[in-house]
């Protein structure tokens, strides 16, 4: 079948990449800050959230997911949702053991 994820070229302005890079550096700073602050068991959630945001930026802008059709985005969302649910179930054990 045609047309589900047809490719097209996108020229992304340098400014976008610089902005994403700055955002990634800020998130890196947030990771370091979380390590210094005593969040107890919640620091895991904070770190996972920050890591997800970083990965999202890389996927959307550097890997051009932003310009793909909805099918590919939906597939990736499903994979991430699965991973999130798996981690949540792990913590349903570890946090209440």
């Amino acid at each position: 079948m045609q047309g589900e994820t047809e490719k097209s070229d996108h020229i992304v302005p340098y400014g976008t990449y610089v902005n994403v890079w700055i955002a990634l550096m800020l998130l890196l700073a947030a990771t370091i800050a979380v390590a210094k602050v005593e969040f107890s068991k919640y620091s895991v959630f904070a770190n996972l959230l920050i890591a997800s945001l970083k990965a999202g930026l890389v996927l959307f802008f550097f890997m051009h997911l932003k310009y793909e059709k909805w099918v590919l985005k939906a597939m990736l969302f499903m994979v991430i949702a699965t991973l999130t649910a798996v981690i949540a179930l792990f913590f349903a054990d570890v946090m209440f053991r």
């Binding site: 699965t82 649910a85 798996v86 179930l89 349903a92 209440f96 053991r97």
Partner: protein, 527 residues
């Protein structure tokens, strides 16, 4: 299409590629040749696994007289590793999926034919590593097929090589899943919309996703074992700050979805066979298709029911028990729809239907006993007993195993261009069915009465049931032998098969038996 000898002359068997002899198979990128090779391989490993299983059963009626304690542990471990990782997980997708998926969607091959060939080589490499582990260093693994830590970190047996073999097999599985999902998205014939897809294709699609999402978790878990054994890293070792329950979580995060890698495509086969032999359309096509996706997605999150007695938190146990009950719903939908399809059908009692009906019966017993052990309270009593072994074999062998036999009898004429005699197939089925239930139903009672699994010896009160079970194993083996000899005989002496011996409606029955190299001279248009 007419049955004629020219079909065989123009079939993919006669296709002249760059290579001759064995290389024309090993180097082939034709999905049908790869499927046939996989079929030969999985049936070979199945046969070896059966022989090891018979040896285990024989040892259990005379503990200590046939196998020593250590050898017993090694034999049941290798039986499990062969049956799980080399037979039943790859099973349906690699053999029948490879052969029929492109044909059923009106394509000439899978999306990535060379990647397909790579999966076959990876499978061979993984199998070779597992085989090598049996004869080198500390000898065959004695951990069971689950490689539970921390024992697998400390055991003297050659775990590292066996685990590396399974790691390589995992890559074969991931790439097969990737190939199938891409093929179904990209290579459907014009007009072959999602809801015109054969139900076998739907199940391969759902399975492909599970293969891609779950198998990497096994890969990393096995790497942790290797790191623990080789470099002393203590991921799962409490004496080094590790957590053995983490191993169980990671292992079952793969291995429970793996149950659906085995069973989902098996259900797809049944969904193809039942309507053909009931001479009716499947009842509730969309419900059956969606239930495949439902099983794949909900089934991913039930792994904790293998760990109710592990020391996991009560919260997690309740959650996992609840989700376990949920996954029974889409499985139930399939069972009801198959039965509803049979209702008022014009039944053709051919051999494939016998195997398909036994699938429904045996899988239902496996599924319903799954609900018993999915409940927290009974699980405390039944965990680690023969009840689990019985449940497991009813689902795996009664389910996936019988589905493979169904597929063999259903698609044999298409794959090999030969018909087999019906009577021996039905006799074989009958013997197998009787043997199967004697062998495994006894285990339900043994387990309920408290006989622990994996034990080499037992108190005398369990002897009679063990004896019945072992006699069942001999009857089962005779049934399998009759079936196998019948098919092998047909391979060489069978009469020529017509293109559509059963009156099937899917695309594989519209082309010659066996299929031509390119499947279709022109890509069909689906109306």
């Amino acid at each position: 299409m007419e049955n004629n000898a020219a079909d065989y002359e123009n079939s993919f068997y006669q296709e002249k590629g760059r290579y001759n002899g064995v290389l024309s198979w090993l180097m082939s990128t034709d999905h049908k040749r790869i499927g046939i090779q996989y079929l030969a391989a999985i049936l070979t490993f199945f046969s070896i696994g059966v022989m090891l299983g018979l040896l285990v059963r024989l040892s259990l009626i005379a503990p200590g007289k046939i196998l020593s304690q250590n050898t017993y542990n090694q034999v049941f471990s290798v039986h499990g590793i062969l049956m799980i990782f080399l037979f039943i997980i790859p099973g349906v997708p690699v053999a029948f999926g490879n052969f029929f998926l492109p044909i059923m969607i009106g394509a000439r091959d899978v999306a990535f034919p060379r990647l397909n060939r790579l999966t076959w080589w990876l499978y061979l490499a993984g199998a070779a590593l597992v085989a090598l582990s049996l004869f080198t260093s500390g000898g065959p693994p004695d951990t069971g097929w689950t490689f539970y830590a921390p024992y697998s970190i400390r055991a003297q047996a050659n775990i590292t090589l066996a685990v590396t073999g399974v790691f390589v097999l995992g890559f074969s599985s991931i790439l097969t899943g990737l190939n199938f999902v891409t093929t179904i998205h990209r290579l459907r014939a014009p007009g072959m919309t999602w809801f015109k897809l054969p139900l076998f294709v739907w199940t391969l699609y759902a399975t492909g996703w599970v293969q891609m999402l779950a198998t990497p978790v096994l890969a990393i878990t096995l790497v942790f074992i290797i790191l623990g054994r080789v470099f002393g890293v203590g991921f799962f070792d409490p004496s080094r700050g590790g957590d053995p329950i983490l191993y169980e979580h990671l292992f079952w995060t793969y291995s429970h979805p793996a149950v659906y890698i085995m069973v989902l495509p098996a259900m797809g086969i049944i969904s193809e066979v039942i309507p053909v032999f009931a001479r009716k359309k499947i009842f509730g096509y969309k419900a059956v298709a969606y239930s495949a996706l439902g099983i794949a997605s909900v089934g991913y999150f039930v792994w904790g029911h293998h760990m109710f007695t592990s020391g996991m938190s009560d919260t997690a146990r309740i959650i996992f028990s609840f989700i376990t009950f949920l996954v029974a719903v889409p499985s139930g939908i399939k069972i009801f729809n198959w039965v509803a399809t049979l209702y008022k059908g014009s039944i053709m009692p051919n051999a494939p239907l016998y195997f398909a009906l036994s699938f429904i019966f045996l899988f239902s017993i496996g599924g319903l006993t799954g609900l018993i052990i999915g409940s927290l309270a009974p699980n405390l009593h039944l965990h680690g007993t023969y009840f689990i072994v019985a449940h497991f074999h009813y689902v795996m062998f009664g389910g996936a195993g019988f589905a493979i036999l169904t597929a063999l009898h259903y698609w044999f004429p298409k794959m090999f261009g030969k018909m087999y005699p019906e009577k021996p197939a039905k006799v074989g089925w009958f013997i197998l069915f009787i043997g199967f239930n004697l062998l495994y139903f006894s285990m339900f009672i043994l387990g309920y009465r408290g006989m622990p699994r994996r034990y080499f010896d037992y108190p005398p009160e369990y002897f009679n049931l063990h004896l019945i079970s072992t006699i069942g194993s001999w009857i089962l083996a005779i049934g399998l032998l009759v079936i196998l000899v019948n098919l092998l005989r047909a391979l060489f002496r069978g009469t020529q098969a017509p293109s559509d011996p059963w009156g099937g409606k899917t695309l594989e029955w519209k082309i010659a038996s066996p299929p031509p190299a390119e499947n279709f001279h022109e890509i069909p248009e689906i109306k």
